[in-house]
């Protein structure tokens, strides 16, 4: 027999005004297993709490019902109070007789019977309360950041500055990501490299940060506080410990290939740094194009290297380490418009370039040293057409969403072009202009004043004729067809998720939306968290963003990690799902339904009817379960139950309401 104590709160006159609290206590005393029932002026006050503590001892109570305000208000208070007694804090139920009774009903004739019913339900439920304990999970205070672009670097610096070790895994041979490829940043027009490379240097020099370049995450196991991550660092063929970064090897290498960093507009060597300010400032050998590694002939770099750092027998390095938190900052890529837009030449016209190629063209350290020249003949284009929304807002051919940053960088491109080329004409074909941001609209207006001509409509066709690019389109404001003879066309292409998004998403249990952007846990309230505890998102992997938004999100994600790392142990939620292995038939319905990937099937071997049987049963990971209970309904045999809200408890509440 349990011994229930019922405490009815007056809450001054808040409750007592419309509920006859004394009568409620009298009725409560008659309920089964109720050993003691009383009232108190203010249950939540110190004297009120003290009264409960004393009653527990005096009446040998083993569980408590408090009829008071909403459990959303003081459930935590009373749990904390119980923690100081012999009773487990979860042996407590609250009857909400204030917000959902006394405050919404006008007189005692109505309020009192309802309050009695609510107490009955609480008593019925508390009879089936079980002591719950939280388990603690150790937190490994090391963070892993996947992606070394601006978001990844910002997050790494913030976490490292907070005092925790961070590892950055970057798939390219240098940090910097997309931002370092840009020439200037809107709307302030400060040089992208000038603000990005100092961050790269900071990251490289930070004692708390380890950088793994040419690296990718191979597998992830474990859970919040305890992720086991295997990383493969590809062979670099250069010993970074001894290399001084003198770059002599780069000048002597005879193999020239298209530079990825310069978007194919310039050449690089087979042993190379993608750009001068690369971090780490050391070269790697591109095995696919190295003559020595292809057919054993050459080896010039080895001969010229003054410190003997070239290692042609270098191999991939695979390491497995434990991290407490993971930030995914894998960024975006630009849509491959050449496969989609045959009307723009499908990549056959050299002078139809992407916005990122334009960034390289206009960059002082780019292939043309900042002179805007047509790729086909190195002449200065006198007329440039900029086409926006190439791949964005085009559900028929590509993506339905807006890529957010293009309106602004199109304006920036126009501004830069008009600034650098005299007597130039620039036409921008647009659908809408979207400039939400500080100083953004002003920037756009200035571009118009610079002389950029905005034409509202899409370009339907580009024809390459006599070295001119004839752009045909519609001016929807004039309602007429327009044709512009351009020397060069810049396509402002859509941002799409990085190639790795799907694979990394499934490896880490992060859901993807229809376009494969990684999904945050809540679109408004949990924008950097994911559904997997301890895994956060930063930057454009979550959706198209500009630089300030990416940086802000990265710092937010870093803060979440710092909060997690501020404790030595994590307390798991006590009210979580729990599988009864005798009832579970291993059908896996719960596994499929769990939004947190907290449930797995596990093989057990046990004796059944004198035969050893091996079968699968579901198992809940207490570190991941958030206690929603969706699995309990999916479980037909009722093996899955939710602690604190068990089937039995809810059924007793229902029964108490009807049958007492």
């Amino acid at each position: 027999m349990s011994r229930v104590g019922v405490f009815v709160c007056h809450c001054g006159s808040n409750i007592a005004g419309t509920v006859d609290v004394e009568h409620v206590a009298e009725e409560a005393a008659k309920l089964p297993n109720v050993a003691y029932a009383t009232t108190n002026k203010y249950m939540c006050s110190d004297p009120g709490q003290q009264a409960v503590r004393e009653a527990i001892i005096e009446h040998n109570l083993d569980r408590i019902v408090i009829a008071s305000c909403s459990p959303r208000m003081h459930e935590a208070t009373f749990r904390k109070m119980l923690a100081g007694t012999d009773i487990n804090p979860y042996m407590l139920e609250i009857a909400n007789v204030r917000e959902q009774c006394s405050w919404v009903h006008k007189d005692k004739d109505v309020g009192t019977p309802k309050a009695i019913d609510l107490v009955k339900m609480a008593v019925a439920k508390v009879n089936y309360d079980a002591p719950l304990t939280t388990t603690t999970i150790p937190v490994n205070k090391r963070a892993l950041i996947i992606g070394g672009g601006i978001a990844g670097m910002q997050a790494a610096l913030d976490i490292a500055d907070a005092g925790y070790p961070v590892t950055i895994v970057e798939k390219e041979s240098s940090l910097g990501g997309r931002m370092v490829m840009l020439d200037k940043t809107f709307p302030t027009m400060d040089c992208s490299a000038c603000i990005c490379t100092p961050k790269m240097t900071d990251v490289g020099a930070h004692p708390n940060i380890t950088i793994k370049t040419l690296a990718e995450v191979e597998s992830v196991g474990g859970y919040i506080g305890n992720f086991e991550v295997t990383v493969r660092e590809k062979a670099k063929y250069v010993d970074y410990d001894t290399c001084t970064g003198c770059s002599l090897c780069e000048t002597k290498c005879p193999s020239k290939v298209d530079s990825e960093f310069d978007q194919g507009l310039a050449k690089r060597r087979a042993i190379y740094r993608p750009f001068a300010q690369a971090v780490p400032a050391k070269p790697t050998i591109d095995a696919k194009n190295c003559r020595k590694l292809i057919d054993g002939k050459c080896g010039v770099c080895e001969k010229v290297c003054p410190v003997g750092s070239i290692k042609f027998d270098d191999e991939d390095k695979v390491t497995t380490e434990v991290y407490g938190a993971i930030i995914v900052a894998i960024g975006y890529q630009l849509i491959d418009w050449t496969k989609i837009y045959g009307e723009y030449g499908g990549g056959r016209f050299k002078d139809v370039i992407s916005g990122l190629q334009f960034e390289r063209l206009v960059n002082a350290s780019g292939p043309t040293e900042g002179h805007i020249l047509r790729p086909s003949d190195n002449t200065e284009p006198k007329t440039v057409v900029i086409v926006k929304c190439v791949g964005s807002r085009d559900p028929e051919k590509a993506k339905s969403y807006c890529s957010r940053a293009c309106c602004m960088y199109a304006a920036k491109h126009a501004h830069q072009y008009l600034d650098k080329v005299k007597d130039a004409r620039c036409y921008i074909f647009y659908m809408d202009i979207r400039t939400p941001g500080k100083g953004y609209d002003e920037f756009y207006m200035n571009t118009q004043h610079d002389g950029a001509r905005y034409i509202r409509g899409r370009v339907s066709k580009i024809i390459n004729q006599n070295g001119k690019l004839i752009c045909k389109g519609e001016d929807t404001l004039l309602g007429s067809q327009v044709t512009v003879e351009a020397d060069m066309v810049v396509l402002e292409t859509a941002m799409v998720p990085a190639d790795e998004a799907n694979q990394i998403g499934s490896m880490l249990g992060i859901t993807r939306d229809k376009d494969l952007w990684l999904s945050e846990a809540h679109p408004k309230l949990r924008p950097v968290e994911t559904n997997s505890g301890g895994i956060y998102l930063a930057g454009t992997c979550q959706g198209p963003k500009d630089i300030p938004d990416s940086v802000a999100q990265a710092s937010a994600a870093a803060m979440k990690v710092a909060i997690l790392f501020s404790k030595d142990e994590l307390e798991s939620n006590a009210m979580i799902a729990n599988s009864n292995k005798n009832l579970c038939n291993g059908c896996g319905a719960c596994v499929a339904i769990c939004p947190y990937g907290a449930i797995t099937l596990e093989e057990i071997t046990a004796r059944e009817n004198s035969v050893m049987v091996t079968r699968e049963i579901s198992k809940v990971n207490p570190g991941l379960c958030q206690g929603c209970g969706a699995c309990t309904v999916a479980c037909r045999p009722g093996a899955m139950d939710l602690r604190g809200f068990t089937d039995e408890q809810i059924m007793r509440e229902v029964a108490a309401l009807c049958q007492w």
């Binding site: 349990s2 009725e27 008659k30 309920l31 089964p32 297993n33 083993d62 569980r63 909403s70 459990p71 959303r72 208000m73 909400n96 917000e99 959902q100 009774c101 006394s102 405050w103 919404v104 009903h105 109505v110 309020g111 019977p113 309802k114 009695i116 019913d117 009955k120 339900m121 009879n127 089936y128 309360d129 079980a130 846990a521 809540h522 679109p523 559904n531 009210m575 339904i593 939004p595 958030q626 206690g627 929603c628 209970g629 969706a630 309990t632 309904v633 999916a634 939710l642 809200f645 089937d647 809810i650 059924m651 007793r652 229902v654 029964a655 108490a656 309401l657 009807c658 049958q659 007492w660």
Partner: protein, 173 residues
């Protein structure tokens, strides 16, 4: 004494209007706080409703609904966050599918649709909570008491007696 005794006795003698008993399952994150807000704003709605707090509408097993109706509740209301707003990402989407199908089944086998309703009510929609509760109470009052099994109805009535509760030996402790 309890309100149940009064109302059912009244209904059976036909001297007073019938007061239905409505059980409302409310998710902790949205509807329950919406109901709290209704109290905070001192809104007023019929006292016929009893809120049963669950963490998420996805926790509401259709079996509870049928059990409640069988045991003498006149109407059941299930409320959760609006689709897309679930604290647990997807619970209400699952609830929606289950309850939609189950509700059709109950109607198919003859239940009045008003006796089992589902609504999405957010934490800020105190007014919607009040209006929903009021309308469900009105609708069910109109229908009269739920007598799932005429032969059993008498039995249920007589079992409503606080001095002789039907409670098994309780507690896991």
């Amino acid at each position: 004494m309890s309100v149940v005794n009064d109302t059912q006795a009244a209904a059976s003698t036909g001297t007073e209007t019938f007061e239905p008993k409505i059980l409302a399952f409310a998710c902790h994150w949205c509807t329950y706080s919406g109901a709290d807000l209704a109290g905070l704003n001192r809104m007023s709605y019929p006292a016929n409703v009893r809120v049963l707090r669950v963490p998420c509408s996805g926790r509401v097993n259709p079996q509870y609904i049928l059990t409640a109706l069988n045991k003498g509740v006149d109407g059941v209301l299930v409320c959760g966050c609006h689709p897309g707003d679930c604290h647990y990402v997807s619970g209400n989407y699952y609830a929606k599918r289950r309850l939609m199908a189950f509700r059709r089944m109950l109607q198919y086998t003859g239940l009045e649709p008003e006796r089992f309703q589902v609504r999405w009510i957010s934490g800020s929609e105190a007014g919607k909570f009040r209006d929903t509760v009021t309308s469900v109470v009105e609708q069910v009052r109109e229908l009269g008491p739920y007598k799932p099994d005429p032969a059993l109805a008498a039995l249920i009535d007589s079992s409503v007696d606080a001095s002789n509760p039907v409670l098994p030996e309780g507690g896991e402790a």
